[in-house]
Structure formats: C-alpha cells, structure tokens
C-alpha cells in the first residue's frame, strides 16, 4: 500500500469508535448516508495528481499527518476568544461551532423569529428528521469528491439554516467554525442552507482557528435556493498557517432564484475549494465572487463548476488571486451549458496578481457548450503590479512599500466591494491588509 492508501484506511478505521458513540436513535437516512460516504471514500481514496482535477494539488501533506477525528468532548473555549476573532463591528447573530460541533453556550438563541431557524444537525436528527432527509446529502456529489465523501462518512453535527418562505432577513446570519486542539485534529464542518421560496438572506460561513496546532478542516456545505429565493453566502476562510483546509460547496438553484457566493480565502496551508452550482430551473442567476491571497508556501486551489442545465440561466464569475512569497494558486473554472440550456448567458473571469517572483498561478477556464443559442465568455489574466500606478502614488509622497500595499489591496477591492454588507467589506479589507503586511507587502 502507498502512503495515501494507508492514510485512507487509517481514517476509515476510526469509524467503529465513532459509530459506538452515535447510539441507536439514529434516523435510517443518516446511517445510510454515512455508509455511502464510507463506501465512496474507500473507493476513491485520497486523490493523486494523476487525476486531472487534482493535477496541481498534491494532498500528500494531508495524508502524511496522522489526523484524528475531533473528539465529541467539547474543548474548553472561552466565549471571549470567539468574540475576539468574530467581527466585533458586526451586529448580527452569532452561531459557533467548535471542531464542527455546535456550541449553544457560545451562540445566540437558535430561534430568531417565527420559522427562521439556525439549528444544529445533531438536534434536528431527533426533532425534524424529515427536513434532513429532504435535503442532506442531496446536492453534494460524493461519488466524484473524495473529501466530501470523507466528511459524510463521519456526518454527525453541523449547521442547518432554514430561511422561511418570503422572509427578508435584515441582518446576516454569522456561522463561525472554530478549529481548535493541540493534536493533529480533523474537523469536518457541515452546513445546510435551505432558502425557501421568495426568501432573502445573507449567511456568513466563517472559518477561524484558536491556537496554533496543525489541523485539517474538511467542510461540506449544501445549499438549495427555492423558487424566487435570493441568497448570499459568504465563505470567509482565515484559519492559521498550519491548517489544511478542503471545502466543498454545492448549490441547487430552482426557478428564478439568485445565489451569490463570496469566497474569501486568506488562511490555511494547503487549501482546496470546490464550488458547484447547478442551475436546475429556468431564470436562475448565479454569481461566484472569489478573492484568494497566498503567502509563504501556501497552496490555494479553487475549482468551480457552473452547470447550466436548463434555458434562460445567467451566471457571472469573477475570481481574483494575489500571490506573495513562494505561494501557488490554482484556478479552474468550468462552465457547462447542457444541450437544453438555450439562451444561457455566462461570463467568467479570473485575474491574478503575482506580487513576488517566486509565486505561481495556474489558471484554466473551461467552457463546455452543448447548446447553440448562448452567450458565453471567459477571460484569464496574470500580471504584476502596474509600475505606472506605483510611480504615480510615489510621486505624491507615498513610500514605495505603502504604495505596493495600497495597489495590492486595490486589486482585491473590485471583488470585495460586492460583499453584501458595508461592515463586512471593511472587515474583509482590513483582514486582507493585515495578511499582506504579514507577508511583507507594505513594510
């Protein structure tokens, strides 16, 4: 057996202890889902770079560390520590998950108003198994995503957000996923968002670290936007430099719904984000915005798939990468336009800024168009800081390093200004600026 196979079996070996703890009162659907996850992960194993989808991303560092499933014991963690990292300026409800498990004592009340709920998956399995059965595991394709299968193999807790029909939420819902633990801990956050017909909401999925341990976060999010729903999902990843982070987000869009994902990747060591949106009914609008900042020896890999399955769908995608130090970035964006999907209007753009000579980016847009009456475009660009702009700022007394910082930050503004709340924009820019300074840009 090679090291990847050994690592796979070591992880799967943790299932028996896991099942013993789960107890008997488990809905059959959940048990079945986990079984499927195990089967798929056993069959797929850790992906190798021989696979086209993983060509630039070698997951050997994840396999090499002997990650142990986060224990069900709640690690002691102070509310103050969580609040300190969450946005203090962000006056919205806060739901805290530590190593993937809901911590009500650190969170706001789950019942926000009427039918609007942010619940833990663990609680819903006894209280509303029908809701879970209707949605959980329906949108993510485990068969082709080994890490999603791994997450599902240990499916136990997570966040379930239901935005009731017609509800218009004023404030964002803030889900904070804290990774914690000194040992090599594997956390597997799970999120399900059901945006019921005609609803409007902003959900923030925020990944942070407390402490400095080596960890592996393997998250899966499933989203469904029902007819006429409008959902913004902000995924902010700012874990510590030692944490590997793999995420899988799948969204199914029903008729006339809008889904906007904002993926802001600032932290982690080896990072892979898979995002798939299926425009399953007519008139859906899908917007994927992304900013990623690589520093040190970070690897940040973004794979997106926008699947236009039906006519009259619109998609817009803009990803911007900033690569410092010896970091590597990968962008692969597929747009699929199925034979029936006439009148599809799809645009994709990936632009990258190489801040240092040692940094690298592989950008690969991919259009697969099987319909003839469509409007599709894509573009990809890689560049360095504009020397004329740099001189312009310096000629006004701004020193070279500050000018570099200002321009690099400015590169990300086009995407970050699309964030759905002003406070969020400010915080994201502040975090970006801070990380750029840490990377030696601006000092």
């Amino acid at each position: 057996m090679n090291p990847l196979e050994i690592a796979r079996d070591r992880l799967l070996g943790q299932t028996s202890g896991f099942d013993r703890q789960s107890g008997a009162a488990e809905p059959a659907h959940l048990r079945r889902l986990r079984e499927e996850g195990r089967t798929h992960f056993a069959a797929l194993g850790f992906p190798t770079t021989r696979l086209e989808e993983w060509r630039y991303t070698n997951v050997a560092p994840i396999a090499a560390a002997d990650f142990r499933l986060a224990s069900r014991e709640h690690p002691p963690i102070a509310r103050a520590a969580v609040e300190a990292i969450s946005f203090p300026v962000f006056a919205c409800s806060l739901f805290v998950f530590v190593n993937g498990r809901f911590r009500p004592e650190l969170s706001s009340s789950p019942i926000l108003s009427g039918e609007l709920r942010v619940e833990s998956l663990a609680r819903l399995r006894s209280e509303n198994p029908a809701l879970l059965e209707a949605h959980l595991g329906r949108y993510t394709e485990q068969k082709s995503h080994p890490f999603a299968a791994l997450n599902t193999a240990f499916l136990d807790d997570g966040a379930v957000v239901t935005i009731p029909s017609g509800a218009r939420l004023e404030n964002p819902l803030h889900l904070v996923f804290v990774s914690n633990g000194e040992m090599a801990t594997l956390s597997q956050p799970r999120v399900l968002v059901v945006a019921e017909p005609g609803s409007r909401a902003v959900v923030i999925q925020d990944h942070v670290s407390v402490g400095e341990g080596v960890r592996f976060t393997n998250s899966v999010s499933e989203v469904v936007t029902c007819a006429g729903a409008d959902l913004d999902l902000v995924i902010l990843q700012r874990e510590n430099d030692l944490t590997h982070h793999v995420s899988n987000l799948a969204c199914r869009q029903e008729r006339g719904s809008r889904f906007t994902a904002h993926t802001v990747t600032l932290g982690g060591s080896l990072v892979r984000n898979d995002l798939g949106a299926l425009l399953a009914d007519e008139g859906a609008e899908c917007t994927l915005n992304g900013v990623f900042l690589g520093r040190g020896s970070q690897l940040i890999d973004n794979h997106t798939v926008v699947d236009h399955a039906v006519p009259h769908g619109t998609s817009r995608e803009l990803y911007k990468g900033i690569l410092c130090g010896k970091s590597k970035g990968v962008f692969r964006g597929r747009i699929i336009v199925r034979p029936d999907a006439q009148k599809t209007d799809a645009e994709q753009s990936n632009r990258n800024l190489l801040v240092a000579d040692g940094a690298e980016i592989n950008s690969k847009p991919q259009l697969e168009i099987y319909a003839d009456d469509v409007k599709c475009s894509h573009g990809s660009a890689i560049g360095r800081l504009d020397q004329d702009a740099l001189f312009y700022l310096r000629s006004r007394g701004i020193d070279r390093e500050r000018a570099r910082l200002v321009l690099t930050r400015g590169f990300a503004v086009e995407v970050l200004e699309k964030l759905p709340a002003p406070a969020l924009r400010d915080v994201a820019l502040e975090l970006l600026e801070q990380r750029l300074r840490d990377a030696g840009v601006g000092s």
């Binding site: 004329d388 702009a389 001189f391 312009y392 000629s395 007394g397 020193d399």
Partner: protein
Amino acid sequence: MLEIKNLHAKAGEAAILKGIDLTIRPGEVHAMMGPNGSGKSTLASVLAGRPGYSVTAGEILYDGRDLTGIEPEERAREGIFLAFQYPVEIPGVGNHYFLKASLNAIRSHRGEEELDAIDFLALVREKMKMVEVPEDLMNRSINQGFSGGEKKRNEILQMLLLEPRLCILDETDSGLDIDALRVIATGVNALRGPQRSLLVITHYQRLLDHIVPDRVHVLSEGRIALSGDKSLAVELEKKGYGWLETAPPGAEAAAVQ
C-alpha cells in the same frame, strides 16, 4: 531653487537629454516649449525621479541638493510636484483615501500634524471649489472613468492640497477645452507666490496667455535651443518650430529676430 547643469539623461536605453542648463529661482515661472520628441516629458520624468529614466552626466540641484538617486517619494516630500500628462487610472484605490494618505505623508515629513478625517474633508472641499471638481470624484477610484478634463483638474487639486515648492506641469493643457483651461489656470495662478516656482511644459502658447511666464525656453533635440521672455511663445505660435534648426544651442531670442 532649481539648478540644472549640463544634464544628459536616458529614457530606457535611448539618450534623450543632451546637455541642458536651466536655472529657476524662487517665485519664477518658466515655460518649456518644443516639438514632439524634443525631450520635454523626459525632463519632467527625470525631475520627478521616474524609474527607467537615468542621469548619465551633469546634475540637478534642488535647493542646492543633488537629486541623483533620491527616491520619487522623497522628492515629493521635499516639495517637487509633477502634474502628469497622462494621470494614471488606479482601480480599487479611492481618490479620497489617496489624497489623504498623500497629504499626511507630506505633512508628517514637514513635521506638521497629520489631518484627521474632518479637517481633511474641510480642506479638500475648499480646494475642490477652486478647480471646480465635483464632490463625487472623491468617492471614485483614482482617475477611473474620469473625463480628460476631470483628470487634469484632479492633478491641480492635488497640487493645491500638497502646496509644493516646485511645480512641474507636463502638458496639463493637452486635450482641454478653453473653459477647462481657464479653470486649471485659475488653480495654478492661485499657487503662484514668491517662494514657489513653476515649470510649465506645453506645446502651445494658449496656456501661457493664462499662466504668464517669466521665461520661455525652447527644447530641441535634447537641448535648450532658444530662451526668451513671454513674447517668444507668441512668436513660436506664429512661426512653428521648423526655423529652430538654424539657431545655435542656448541662443537668446533677441539674437535671432
């Protein structure tokens, strides 16, 4: 204030300036005219310290200090200002943020207190009125989507804010209609004073009707071919630049009537 002695300079690998001598005293306004490719913009770039431009011989003394090797930001803080011929568009960087950062960098170099948001706003509003810059320009990215005239007014606005001692205007009049030209000139003239010098680079005499120079120089093939008073500009407007070839380098206008 500015003493240029036998200046030779390259733009990239091309030798452009081939021995310029020029002295500008405090309070003086000098115009630099000349045909395309004569080296006017290279001179402006060299004075501002633009990377890619190098002095190969001679020297530039600013307040008696040799500028060779001095970074552009240092020159700016010491009071040298270049109004760009083509102001750069910088998406993602707000004009307001930029002007405040710039002003405070310069104030702190001068040993003055940095301005807070409120004081800065009051000051910038006052200067904006002088060059008729609309309020919304402040909330946009630097020069992005600005019309030609707005870009040039933004340059003069920066000059008014930063109060430099040596102002270099690089074809600030190009692409401006007569009304915009008047607004720009009003802004520039407001800055004229006994301690401030101007070097106005232009093709045309019309700007000099509004910003009246003490001296006019004509640059040709990297040298000052001719110098004179403001009447030289009028004469150039009539005759064009073609007849310059006959003039010996450094001649006084009076000598070639």
